[in-house]
Amino acid sequence: MSENLAKFCPGCGYPITLLMLNKTLEKLGLQKQAVLGLDIGCALLAWNFLPINTFQTHHGRVVPTMMGFKRARKSSLCVALVGDGGAYAIGLQSLIHAAKRDEPIMVIVTNNTVYGMTGGQTAPTTLNMQITPTSPEGNIEEPFFGPELLKGIVKEGAFLARTAVNEPKQLMEYLEKAIQTQQAGHFSLVEVLSFCPTNWKTVGIGTIEKLNGLKETFKLGEL
């Protein structure tokens, strides 16, 4: 159960990820040790959503903040919740180095192919020829594959995976594996393909079709 009502847009995928995280923590009896750091972007809206310690940071800076926290309190279970822009654009430098150093923190990246909070601008994950306010003629770049990029960098024992908010069983399985990875002292990242009907300008089944379509570009599974 959530602590407070969700502040996300109707139809947003974030509450699914968060409730699954909470359910997993509850199942493993880790709610007290868990510390949830939020990047800026839509992730920030989770600041009082779950019954676990939570704080907001800056855009692109949740990974080094949680690294500092984890190193200071090794008994904690540190979770960094971040969007695709925070993780793969403004915060990429820190993400790469945290992965390379095998920092025992867990990063959950929401991939909805846009900058949601600021109005749907082009993100590193925006599809080729996808139209956004900052790519009105269609995005000329190819999308960015975060877990695949990190695959060549992480140390043995790290966990990298991609799932989607409409794959609850797999989502929960990966979150549990990511938590166990941190407990074993390693870095983990779970990218979650997520709904953004507000910026996708979709409703109902259209939103689900759009998400399922993303799975053709962004392959689900463990890396």
Binding site: I40, L44, N53, P64, T65, G68, S76, Q93, S94
Partner: protein
């Protein structure tokens, strides 16, 4: 036989010793001249540390550490100090006891690598906020030690981020100091995100009124603690005709110049803010208000960053004329100050 407890130490060695004595638990840093020796010196102690990928990560790692209740610090200067303002801004917003040792170098841009007094505005007002951070400006090696200890204590006691604003001259210079005689009690650290209860902690607000209220609360605390922290060095002589104002190591040169000038019968006076934020406003008003004072000369290695603060802080009813000796990015020697009177 008399025991000489003085040790010959560089400023960087003194900073490392002060951080150890303050019981800092970790340093996050990125190498940049003139603060490299603080990072390598701290690493040599064997205490926890990390050379991060950039100063931004160092700043936020310090934020994360203090949230968990660990005394943590970083050190940088110039362009690195610019990047640290990102984390400093979060520290200001969340009232985190974030400590930076800044070794000022010449600017703008990569500038020069050892010395200037051009990071005053950046240190005091560098964030997207109201500048509610403690800024200390040491003039001597001994003071560098004391103010570094005080920075940790004030940051943890009053929950404002703190900057020890020094420079490469002071950090690289060796001087004989007896640190064993300086007895300073430590304020202990405590977890800001506790282990036994749930905290939901925002730093971004939906309503403008919410943010305004938060700033108001911080300002109220700031006003309350300012008289406890603001400090100046003053040469107590009420016959002063020309009052010289300087901070940091320029303050040391000015102090020496004033001593020599007074020997020659010139009625010069000396005021040195030891804290730039909060500024020792009361002391400034007192000294500038002395009836004998005809002129104030602000001396600094910048094109007027200290002068701006002095003019802003001085009570408007005190009418005094200002002159300046400004040498951006250059050191200022005793003779140059004496020459002002020729």
């Amino acid at each position: 036989m008399l025991e000489n407890k003085k040790k010959l130490l560089t400023g960087s060695e003194i900073v490392v010793q002060a951080c150890l004595d303050a019981e800092a638990g970790v340093m996050y840093g990125y190498p940049i001249t003139p603060t490299c020796e603080i990072l390598s010196g701290w690493i040599a102690t064997g205490k926890p540390s990390l050379q991060t990928e950039d100063e931004i990560a160092a700043g936020f790692a310090v934020c994360g550490a203090v949230l968990a209740g660990q005394k943590a610090f970083t050190a940088s200067g110039g362009p690195g100090h610019v990047l640290l303002q990102d984390g400093m801004s979060m520290a200001e917003g969340m009232r985190l006891p974030f400590v930076i040792i800044v070794g000022q170098r010449g600017g703008p841009s990569s500038g020069t690598v050892i010395y200037s007094q051009q990071e005053v505005m950046l240190a005091c007002f560098g964030g997207n906020g109201e500048g509610l951070r403690l800024v200390y400006s040491p003039a001597t090696s001994k003071e560098l030690y004391e103010l570094t200890r005080q920075a940790f204590n004030d940051a943890w006691q009053y929950r404002f981020p703190a900057i020890v604003l020094t420079d490469g001259y002071l950090l690289k210079m060796k001087s004989g100091v007896d640190l064993s005689s300086l007895k300073i009690e430590n304020i202990s650290a405590h977890p800001l995100v506790p282990e036994d209860k749930i905290v939901h902690w925002p730093n971004i607000y939906t309503m403008e009124e919410e943010l305004n209220e938060q700033i108001g609360l911080a300002q109220k605390d700031w006003e309350e603690i300012s008289p406890l922290i603001a400090k100046a060095e003053i040469l107590e002589t009420t016959d002063v005709e020309v009052l010289l104002i300087a901070h940091g190591i320029v303050g040391s040169a000015v102090k020496e110049a004033v001593k020599q000038l007074r020997k020659n019968g010139i009625k010069a006076g000396y005021f040195r803010p030891i804290t730039l934020r909060p500024f020792p406003k009361k002391d400034l008003d007192k000294v500038c208000g002395w009836e004998s004072v005809k002129k104030v000369v602000v001396v600094e290695s910048s094109a007027g960053q200290l002068a701006r603060i002095v003019r802003d802080q001085l009570a408007p009813e005190i009418a005094v004329s200002f002159e300046y000796l400004q040498k951006p990015g250059l050191g200022i020697e005793v003779e140059e100050v004496i020459n002002l009177f020729k």
